[in-house]
Subunit: 164 residues, 2 copies
């Protein structure tokens, strides 16, 4: 699917973190910005809470581990440019955090997707997925909203004779 550096990247939005039933495992859900494919990634409970806390704008009295990462980077006067879900191998997703700064070359750091997203949500940086990852693991999920809209449409147009 093309070598490193010339992969096509697709902009993603962070939908959120959910608990999958009945496994009770947390799942991170990304959605293609200009499309309808979702990328579900199973993550650990600690990382899930690190993402969910920040998405809910809950401030903890002391810096949590991902706040510390962001504080180190800010204190060095550099920033996270973007994060990327870069690959999938044997059902394991890989991610890369790209750091940029005035006096440094662009640096790409290997990360688990959960840590990359937990830092992305704190820095509001862009989130990408490599096209081949989305091609192989993206899912089109029929949303509940769509189902509700369909049902409302049905109620508006249904006639008594439809039940005969």
């Amino acid at each position: 699917m093309g070598g490193k550096g010339n992969k096509k990247l697709i902009k993603m939005g962070l939908e959120g973190v959910r608990i999958e039933l009945p496994s009770q495992k947390p799942i991170l859900l990304l959605k293609e910005e200009n499309g309808n494919r979702y990328l579900p990634i199973w993550i650990g409970p600690f990382e899930a809470s690190a993402i969910a806390l920040e998405m809910s704008h809950i401030k903890t009295p002391r810096p949590m581990t991902h706040d510390l990462i962001v504080n180190i980077i800010k204190n060095l006067g550099i920033k996270i440019d973007n994060i990327e879900i870069s690959d999938i191998k044997e059902n394991t997703f890989y991610a890369v955090i790209t750091i940029i700064g005035k006096n440094i070359k662009k640096i790409r750091i290997d990360s688990r997707p959960s840590d990359a997203i937990a830092t992305a949500v704190r820095t509001k940086c862009d989130i990408f997925a490599a096209e081949h990852v989305l091609d192989s693991s993206g899912l089109v999920i029929q949303s509940i909203d769509e189902e509700v809209d369909k049902f409302k449409d049905f109620l508006e147009h249904v006639r008594p004779e439809d039940f005969k």
Copy 2:
């Protein structure tokens, strides 16, 4: 106890992480290098496992969150000089991670003690505690080894008539 920057620092060794019973809460144990005072600090289960995994030299297939912190710092060509348990307020311990590098000023970053120790154990940097923290919260713990030594000494010198 003196302002920031002129606090006396005491070198500490990391004894390990234990589970305190019956609370089942993990506790981080530091020991004064040239003394017999211990500093027990309650920490979260995730941070406890981050410290214990590294102390046991267990390598995970993917970088854990504190590995990511260390990788970011290494990739930037800088390093953690030391960490310091800097203060205690209302039963909460505070720590500082000090980062140094060729082209940067010494940077001090606010951290929870657990995150600071989890990065220290990965970089083998010095661990300090502010003297006033050790004065107020240090404990002299009679070690099991000392008890065993006392018992062996007793066995060597005990005579039948001692039981009369």
